[in-house]
Symmetry: C2
Subunit: 697 residues, 2 copies
C-alpha cells in the first residue's frame, strides 16, 4: 500500500499584528439586549469610522490602527472590552482593549491589519467578574470587612474559571490551589490577601476573563489597502524636460520617454518610491499658453500638459513628442526595474481641439451664443481649457472616463494623481473609484484637493486613498503642531495626506525667501511628519524664484521645457539630493516613519523649535523591535535657535525620569537625554535633528 | 331652502416659529442621486443629532433649535440649502439656511418648534442659478468681459423665473421688465449692471430660488417635548420638615402633606415652577440611619427617605406620618392651584424591610452566605439599603417599576426625579422612559446623574429629559466658561441640564466658605446660565455649615427633621428669598433666559469677571420682540473687582461700534455701552449685573 505524503502546509502570512491579541472564544450575548438600542453594557462612538457612518473607514496594510469605543456600565463593577476582527479571507481574532483612564470611559487597542481587503470588526463588552471581585476583595479583606464572604466568592470564581473549556492543566492546577487556599480556614486573611493580589493568577484572567452580561456591538467594516495607498516618497518630473536639448537654432527639442528613462536611476538612487508624471497626452494647439502663462504661444512653445487633447488624440493617447504607447510601457517597466512605480495624471478637462469637443459637445457647456464655456474663475478665464459639464450626459462621461482609466491600467499604471477633483462632482468620484477598485483593488488615487476642509474630507471619504494637504502653507511651529495633530488624529480614519513640499503650482513665500535652510527644513518635516511626501523636480536645486506676484516658479515648467544640469549641480555640491537620499534611507529603516499615526507633540520653550515623535510598538513591526523617532526642528530658516525642550518619554514606553540615548540620524551624533534636554539648531548648518530614540545601555 | 352656516375655522396654533420660513414648494431630486451614497450636492453632519444616530435628538416646545448641515459643491457655482420640516400633525414647512461663512461649508437656521411630538426634517441642497449668474455677471460686466453673454443669460433666467408657478403678478412684471432691460441693446452695460445689482430683484429669488441639481438628504427625526422638559425653576423641600414641630418632651412631630401645604404659597411667591419632593414612601426600620449618617437611629429619628419600604408599604405607598394617598392628591392639587407642579423621587432601591425583599428575593443579590447584598462602594457599605439586581428577573422588575410609575401618574404626578440612574442599567431606562412616554408623552424624567460624561450623556440620549449637571463644581470663571459652552453647544441636542445650586447631598466648599455673596452669585448664574435651575430649601437661609470632612450640610435633613423659622428670617432680612424671587421674575419676563442655547461668551480683562449673553431673535419669541440678556458676574465672592469688559454686540444684531442701553434688572441702573465697558462689582453688594440690552434711543 502506498504511503500518502502530505504536502507541507504553505506558510500563511499573518493577517495582522496586534498589541493585545488573546485566544479566540465565542460568547452568547446577554438576553435583554434584543429590545433596546442600548446594550446591557452601553457602547458608543466606535472607531475607526468615517464621519458619515454609511461610508467605510480605511487604512493601509501595516498601519497601526487604533480600534476604540466608549463603554461603561452602571455602578462600580468593572468591565472589559474586546474587539473581534474578521479578516477579508475569514480569519477571526480577538483583542483586548485597555481603558484610556481619562474619565471619558474610552477603551482602545492598536492593531495593524496586513491582509488587504474589507475587514469586519465588532466590539464586545462584558462584566469582568474576576476584576470586580479582586477590587472588592482587596479593599474589604484589608479593611476587615466581609473577609470570609470575599474569600468564598473568590474560591467560587476560581473554580468556575478552572472548569472552563480550553484552560491548560497548569492553569487549572493553579486556580484549584488558589480556591482551596481562600477556603482554608486555617489560613489568615493576610495570606488570603496574597492570593487576591497574586499577579500570576491575575494574568490567567487577563486573556481569559470570566465574562458575564456579554454585549455585542454592531459589526462594522474597515477597508485595508496596499501599503502604497498610505506610505511612499514621491518624485515628480516632466518627461519632456528630462533629456530635452537646446538645438543650435535656439529651439528646444523635447525630451522623450526614452531620454527620461536615463533619469530614472538617479531618482531611484535618491530612494523615492513613486514617480509621478504630469499629463503625457497630446496638448491642445488652440489657445495654447506661452511661457509664464501668456496668452500667445510661440511656435516652439510646448503648452501646458493639462490642456489635454488635439488632433493627435485625447486622454488615451501619448504626446507624439514623448514617443509611442510602447515607449511609455517600456518607461513604466524601466521604472519598475529601478523600484519606482509610475503615477499618471488624470485631468478631466479638454483643450478646445480635444477629439471629445466635436464628438461629444454635450459633455461641455454650450452658452447662449453657441460657444463652449471656457474654464473660469470670474472674471478670469482659461481659454486653453474647456471644463466638462458632468450633468448633461452623466452616463456617457462615466463610461468614457472608466474606459480611459482602464486603458492606462492596461499599460501598467496603478496610481493616478487626480487634477482638481474638487471641481468635479463628488458623486462621480465615489462611483469611479468604487468601480475601478472593484476590478483592481490595488489602484490608488491621489486627490489634488487644495480646497476647504469639507470637500477635502468628502473626497477622502468617497474613496480617494491620498490627498495633497495644506502642508505647504503650514510653516510656523503653531501651524505645524495643529496640522500634524489633525492629519494623525481622527481624520486618519479616512484621509492619508501626501505632504508635497512643492509643486509646479506652489512655490510658497517660505521657500522663496527662506534660502537653502528652508528647503532642508521643509523636506525633513515632510518626510517625517506624515507617511507620504513628495518633491517636484528642481526642489533639490533650490529653485526659488517666483513669477512676480504669484506663488509659482518663474518660467514655470508647465509652459516650457526645463533644462536642468543635474551633473553640474552634483559636482558643485549645490544640491539637496544627498539630504533627500538620507531622508528616504531613514524612512526605509524606521517603520515608525511609515505610519501616519503614533505621532506625539512635545514641548519646547522656543516658539520656532517644533518637537514631535513617532513611535511604533514592537508588537506591530515586522522585526518585533519597537521604533521611536524624535524630530526636533528649527522652523525659522533665518537663525540659530537654542532652547530647552521637554519630552514625555512615556509615550515611547520609557518611564518618566529614565535616561535614554538619542542618535542623530543626519549627523551621527549621540546624546543621553532625559525629560529635559538642551538643543541648539543652526538653520545654516543642520536645522533639524532626526533622532533615533534608543533605550539607555 | 335653509342656509348653511359654516362654523368659523378654529384657530390652529402655529406649529413653529422660524427666522427663515419661505413658501412651500416641491422638487424633483436630481437623477444621478440614486446610485451613490454621495448626493449630487454633498451634504454631511446634519444636526440636530444624537451622538448615536439611531437615537432621536430632542428639544422642548419653543426651543430655538439650530438646524444645520455641511453642504458644498464642486467648483465656484453658488448653492442654496433648505430644511423641510413636517410637524407631528403633518404640517410641512420650508426654511432657508444661511452659510456660516467660516470656511467649513456649514449652513444653519434657527427654528423653534412649538407643537409637541416627533418632527421630521430633511435638508435639501441645490444649485442656485440666480446667485451664480449674479456673481459672475457682476464681476464680468464690470470688467468688460462677456457682457452681452451675461446679459442674455440673465434675461433667460428672469424669464424662467417669471414663468414659474406661484409667482405673483407684480413679481412677474418686475422680472419681465428686467429681462427686457438686459436684452435692450440701446442700454449700456452700466445700466445692465444696475439690474444685476438690484436688491429688489435679488429679493424675488431669495424665497423662491431658481433651483437645479436638487439633492434631498435623509429624513431625520426630532422629538419635541413640553416646555417643562427643558425650562423651569425648581424648589426642593422635605414635606416632613414643613410644619414639623418640636413637642414639649423634646421630640419632633413630623410635618404632613397638610402642614406642608401651608408652605406652598411662599414657594409659589418666589416664582418657582416645580416643587420636588424627596421620597414620600414608608422608611425602613431595619438598619435605619441616625442623625449625621450614624449607624444607629434613636426612637424619634425619622431615617433617610431614600431607604424605602417597611411593613407600612413600599414604593406605591405614602409614609403614614405624611398622611394618606388622598392627602397627597390634595397636596398636588393645592400646588397646582399655586402654579407649582409636583415632582416625585424615583429611587429604585429597598430598605431591608421593604415588602419586595420577602416577596421577590430574586430582585436582589443573594451572597454565598445566604444574606442579601447591601449597597456598597467597597469597602464602604450602606446597610439601610439593598440595591436591586436588574439581571435576575428583568421582566419582573420592569413590570413592577412600570406599575409604580403608572400609580403615581394616576395620582397627578408628571415629573419624576430619578435617584442615581447611573447605578441602574441604561437599557432599563431606555425601556422604561420609552414605554411611559408612549402612554403619557408629557411625563418628564430628571436624572440625578452625578457621574462621568459618558454615562451622563448616555442617560440623556436614552430618554431622560433633564439631567443634574456638573454646575455645583464649576466655580471659577474658566470652569464656568467651559461648562456654559458645553451645555449650550452640541450636547444640547440631547441633554437639558438642571443647574441645582445645592442639594441635600451637595454643599460645596464654594458655598461653605464664600459667605452670603457666594449664595447670590451661584443663584444668579444658575438662573441665567441654563434654562432650568433648582434650589434646595435652606439655601435662602444661607445654611453653610458642613459635616466635618464632607460636602454635605451638618445635621443633614436626610436623617432628621429640619425646623426652619422662615418668618423670623424674613423679618430679620436674613434671607435670599427676595433675590430668588427677582431672578424668577426676570426669567419669566425674558424668553432668552428660557433658552438653553443662544449663549455667547464675551471677554473681560479680569480672571474673576465672567461675561455671557443670551439672545433670542424676535422671529422666535411669542411677542415678536428680540430679547437679549447680558450677565456680568464677579465669581470671586470675597472681593470687589473692577475691569474692562469687551462685548461682541453683533451676536445680538447690534452693529459693532453702535451704542446701546443696558438696564440692570437687579438694581434698575441704566448705562449706555459700546464695545468696551467698565464694570465694578462688589461681591458684598451686588456681585452680578443681569442686564437687559436695549437698542439705543
Amino acid at each position: 500500500m502506498a504511503t500518502k505524503t502530505r504536502a507541507p502546509k504553505p506558510e500563511t502570512p499573518p493577517a495582522l499584528r496586534s498589541t493585545s491579541q488573546i485566544p479566540l472564544r465565542s460568547g452568547k450575548p446577554w438576553q435583554t439586549d434584543a429590545d433596546t438600542r442600548t446594550g446591557r453594557i452601553p457602547m458608543a462612538l466606535p472607531h475607526p469610522t468615517a464621519p458619515d457612518a454609511s461610508f467605510r473607514p480605511s487604512a493601509f496594510s501595516g498601519e497601526a490602527v487604533p480600534f476604540g469605543v466608549t463603554a461603561f456600565r452602571e455602578g462600580h463593577d468593572i468591565i472589559g472590552v474586546h474587539v473581534r476582527l474578521t479578516s477579508p479571507s475569514g480569519a477571526e481574532s480577538l483583542h483586548r482593549l485597555s481603558p484610556l483612564g481619562d474619565g471619558f470611559d474610552r477603551w482602545r487597542t492598536l492593531i495593524a491589519p496586513l491582509e488587504e481587503g474589507v475587514w469586519q470588526f465588532r466590539f464586545e463588552a462584558f462584566a469582568d467578574e474576576f476584576l470586580t471581585w479582586e477590587h472588592a476583595a482587596d479593599l474589604k479583606i484589608a479593611a476587615g470587612v466581609d473577609a470570609p464572604l470575599m474569600r468564598e466568592m473568590g474560591a467560587r470564581l476560581f473554580e468556575r474559571a478552572a472548569s472552563e473549556k480550553g484552560r491548560g492543566a497548569a492553569d487549572v492546577r493553579a486556580l484549584t490551589v488558589a480556591a482551596a487556599a481562600l477556603r482554608d480556614e486555617t489560613q489568615t486573611d493576610e495570606s488570603a490577601l496574597i492570593v487576591v493580589r497574586d499577579p500570576s493568577l491575575a494574568a490567567l484572567f487577563r486573556d481569559r476573563p470570566l465574562q458575564s452580561l456579554l454585549t455585542v456591538g454592531e459589526t462594522r467594516e474597515l477597508l485595508v489597502e496596499r501599503e502604497r495607498a498610505g506610505v511612499g516618497a514621491w518624485y515628480e518630473f516632466f518627461p519632456r524636460s528630462e533629456g530635452a536639448k537646446r538645438l543650435k537654432d535656439g529651439t528646444i527639442k523635447s525630451g522623450t520617454f526614452r531620454t527620461a528613462t536615463k533619469r530614472l536611476p538617479a531618482v531611484a538612487a535618491m530612494g523615492f518610491d513613486v514617480l509621478y508624471l504630469p499629463p503625457i497626452h497630446p496638448i491642445g494647439e488652440v489657445n495654447r499658453k506661452g511661457p509664464n502663462n501668456t496668452l500667445t504661444a510661440g511656435p516652439g512653445d510646448p503648452g501646458s500638459p493639462w490642456a489635454i487633447g488635439s488632433s493627435a488624440g485625447g486622454h488615451d493617447a501619448v504626446h507624439p513628442d514623448l514617443g509611442t504607447l510602447a515607449d511609455f510601457r517600456a518607461f513604466v517597466r524601466a521604472a519598475r526595474a529601478e523600484g519606482l512605480e509610475v503615477a499618471l495624471d488624470l485631468a478631466l478637462q479638454a483643450a478646445p481641439d480635444h477629439p471629445w469637443v466635436s464628438a461629444h459637445p454635450e459633455w461641455f457647456t454650450t452658452l447662449p451664443d453657441g460657444s463652449i464655456a471656457y474654464a473660469e474663475n470670474p472674471p478670469k478665464k482659461y481659454q486653453d481649457i474647456y471644463p466638462i459639464n458632468f450633468d448633461n450626459d452623466p452616463a456617457g462621461i462615466r463610461a468614457e472616463v472608466l474606459r480611459i482609466v482602464r486603458h492606462w491600467i492596461a499599460q501598467g499604471v496603478k496610481i493616478f494623481r487626480v487634477d482638481n477633483p474638487h471641481t468635479k462632482p463628488l458623486q462621480f468620484w465615489e462611483w469611479l473609484i468604487g468601480t475601478v477598485k472593484d476590478e483592481h483593488p490595488d489602484v490608488v488615487f491621489l486627490a489634488e484637493a487644495f480646497t476647504r476642509p469639507a470637500p477635502l474630507l468628502g473626497l477622502a471619504q468617497a474613496g480617494f486613498q491620498q490627498s495633497y494637504s495644506y502642508f505647504t502653507w503650514r510653516n510656523t511651529k503653531a501651524e505645524l503642531e495643529e496640522f500634524l495633530t489633525w492629519i494623525s488624529g481622527d481624520t486618519a480614519d479616512i484621509m492619508r495626506p501626501n505632504l508635497f513640499v512643492n509643486t509646479p503650482d506652489i512655490l510658497t513665500e517660505y521657500l522663496q525667501y527662506g534660502g537653502r535652510p528652508a528647503y532642508k527644513i521643509r523636506a525633513a518635516l515632510a518626510a517625517t511628519g506624515g507617511a507620504s511626501y513628495g518633491v517636484y523636480a528642481g526642489y533639490e536645486l533650490y529653485e526659488n524664484v517666483a513669477r512676480p506676484g504669484s506663488e509659482e516658479n518663474i518660467d514655470n515648467e508647465k509652459y516650457e521645457y526645463k533644462l536642468r544640469d543635474w551633473a553640474a549641480a552634483d559636482a558643485a555640491d549645490a544640491t539637496l539630493a544627498p539630504y533627500l537620499t538620507r531622508l528616504n534611507e531613514i524612512r526605509r529603516a524606521h517603520p515608525a516613519l511609515r505610519q501616519l499615526r503614533g505621532l506625539s507633540l512635545h514641548w519646547s520653550d522656543d516658539d520656532a523649535i517644533l518637537v514631535y515623535s513617532k513611535h511604533l510598538d514592537g508588537a506591530l513591526t515586522e522585526t518585533g523591535q519597537s521604533d521611536t523617532i524624535l524630530v526636533v526642528a528649527n522652523v525659522d530658516p533665518h537663525s540659530t535657535r537654542q532652547t530647552m525642550i521637554h519630552l514625555d518619554s512615556t509615550v515611547w514606553g520609557i518611564p518618566r525620569g529614565a535616561d535614554y540615548v538619542v542618535e542623530d540620524l543626519i549627523t551621527g551624533a549621540e546624546w543621553t537625554w532625559n525629560q529635559d534636554a538642551f538643543v541648539r539648531l543652526d538653520a545654516f548648518h543642520e536645522p533639524v535633528h532626526i533622532l533615533h530614540v534608543k533605550e539607555s545601555r
